[in-house]
């Protein structure tokens, strides 16, 4: 399912290409970078990358369909979903709405898939579910996936998209940072490979946990990647920020990502990297 933002963005992370009401026929999207209007079919044909190079945010299912071997994705832990452990104001409603817009039970989809025939455990976070925020169900799914991969000696490939730990589950969300990191470490200690692909936006508690823990860290061009929110940094430091502040290019230049890859080349590169570490070696 394509991601559409017809409502006003709730915060800076939610700003993205707006969809225009379909007048006749198909929905059109406005590229937030070059402001071109693009019909859905054109975007679909081009992996949701504008001719100007802007990488649109895409849902987890679309991503898995685009970037893994056709029909190879098999879902795991798909029945796990959030509770409202703190009875937090407005959370139930927010969850219901997120489930409705995204068609997902949680902000991450987990399972196995293959890349040019090489099997891996995979996760893809989804921006249309509370901007990929990490609640305890998200943390549980990621943790179970790494445990499953460790047991079955599989590499892990994961796409991150997240506004950070989910405030509505309080301290329990915060603990998911440690829990997932522990699962990554156990998987790593078995000598297994973990590739992360940072996509727009990857911030907060997810950056400060499993997003930055890959053996190899890839990033999509122009993605926002950082720990503190841009606006918060601006307000705290009262300095003007570098133009490329907290982009994929910025973190690569500062040594925190291995490689920036356009979406069109992602699958080839992931396959090649898995090939270096696979059974066929």
């Amino acid at each position: 399912m394509a991601l559409k933002f017809t409502r006003k963005p709730g915060n800076e992370l939610e700003k993205e290409g707006r969809s225009l009401e379909p007048t006749l026929g198909e929905t059109e999207y406005v590229c937030p970078n070059c402001h071109r209007t693009l019909p859905e079919s054109t975007l679909d044909a081009g992996m949701w990358v504008c001719t100007c190079g802007h990488h649109f945010r895409i849902s987890a299912r679309k991503r898995l369909a685009l970037l893994t071997d056709e029909g190879s994705f098999s879902e795991l832990f798909g029945d796990i979903e959030s509770n409202d452990p703190l009875a937090f104001p407005g959370y139930q409603k927010k969850l219901e709405k997120a489930r409705e817009t995204s068609g997902e039970k949680e902000s991450v989809v987990t399972g196995t898939a293959s890349f040019s025939g090489i099997k891996a455990a995979v996760f893809a976070m989804t921006p249309d579910f509370m901007m990929g925020s990490m609640g305890t169900a998200t943390g549980e799914k990621i943790t179970r996936l790494f445990e499953y991969a460790a047991e079955n000696s599989l590499p892990v490939v994961g796409w991150t998209v997240s506004g950070g730990a989910r405030m509505q589950e309080g301290l329990l969300s915060l603990m998911q940072m440690a829990k997932t990191s522990g699962a990554v470490k156990k998987h790593s200690d078995r000598g297994l490979l973990y590739i992360t692909v940072l996509t727009d936006p990857t911030t907060g508690g997810v950056t400060a946990s499993f997003a930055m823990e890959g053996d190899i860290i890839m990033a999509e061009p122009g993605a926002t990647v950082g720990f503190a929110g841009r606006r918060v940094v601006e307000q705290t430091t009262m300095e003007s920020l570098p133009r490329d502040f907290q982009t994929s290019e910025f973190i690569l230049a500062h040594g925190f990502a291995d490689i920036i890859t356009p979406r069109s080349d992602e699958k080839r590169l992931i396959s090649a990297l898995l090939g270096f570490h696979g059974e066929t070696r």
Binding site: E81, S82, G170, L171, L172, F227, T236, H254
Partner: protein, 260 residues
């Protein structure tokens, strides 16, 4: 006391800080500086000390007391170098089989251009990963504010203890209020919703013990805490599968549905 009263108490600048605990509870403290990569972050203090007759590595976030010191210590907001120094000292403790005691007191990791340039997220992530399998006992004591990932980066421990008025939260009540109510002055309301008090943390089993603040700052107070730490470290030293138990401690956190 409301949740926000506790937040205010936790932030009170006259409260004892890490330095006070180190001076009062340990002997022979030798401070060790720097992350061996870039610089020394004075928001984190670390070094060697004796707890009774037990050599330990002690690390803590320091807010400072007077204004000049508070500025030097970035008001207890560590930069990536601080977390890297802490990890370096923990690895050293592992090598020389010393237990680790961490004092946590921060509104959060430092928020700035340099911190982002030098990988604040990566530094915290690495601590979470490495602390989980550190082969020596770790106890963290939250003495004031436990601000999000910046606090957790020193609290992936076998035991987490909290002072009665310490708080531990995924986001500041002000930050939460400005998202939830578009108004930071609604922080007291947000503080209630976030369940950030020591009693809340105990109820989630995120903390094992709440330390009474009766007589805080007195010799008896420090003496009792030192005694409790000594005893608990002794117990942990004899624990089999310590790191597996630490993992299971964090593994158990969550409240979700799994409908088949």
């Amino acid at each position: 006391m409301t949740a926000y009263d506790r937040v205010r108490t936790a932030r009170n600048t006259s409260r004892p800080t890490t330095q006070d605990y180190i001076t009062a509870m340990f002997t022979g403290f030798i401070e060790l500086h720097g992350d061996r990569r870039y610089r020394d972050d004075e928001a984190i203090i670390g070094g060697l000390a004796y707890l009774g007759d037990m050599p330990v590595t002690v690390i803590g976030i320091e807010k400072g007391h007077d204004t000049i010191e508070r500025m030097r210590r970035s008001f207890g907001a560590p930069e990536p170098e601080g977390y890297r120094k802490a990890l370096r000292l923990m690895k050293q403790a592992e090598k020389f089989r010393r237990p680790v005691i961490c004092f946590v007191d921060t509104s959060g990791a430092y928020c700035g251009i340099g911190a982002e340039e030098r990988g604040q997220g990566q530094a915290i992530a690495e601590n979470l990963m490495e602390m989980m399998t550190l082969r020596t006992p770790i106890i963290s004591v939250l003495i004031g504010e436990g601000g999000s990932g910046g606090a957790l980066a020193l609290a992936v421990s076998d035991r987490v203890w909290m002072l009665e008025n310490a708080v531990y939260s995924v986001i500041s009540p002000e930050g939460c209020a400005s998202i939830l109510y578009k108004d930071a002055s609604e922080a007291p309301k947000a503080a209630e919703s976030l369940r950030l008090t020591a009693a809340d943390a105990l109820s989630f089993r995120v903390a094992e013990r709440v330390i009474s603040e009766e007589g805080i700052g007195t010799e008896e107070f420090y003496g009792a805490l030192a005694g409790d730490l000594y005893e608990e470290l002794g117990r942990l030293a004899g624990t089999e599968d310590l790191t597996e138990k630490r993992y299971q401690r964090f593994r158990s956190f969550g409240n979700y549905k799994d409908i088949k």
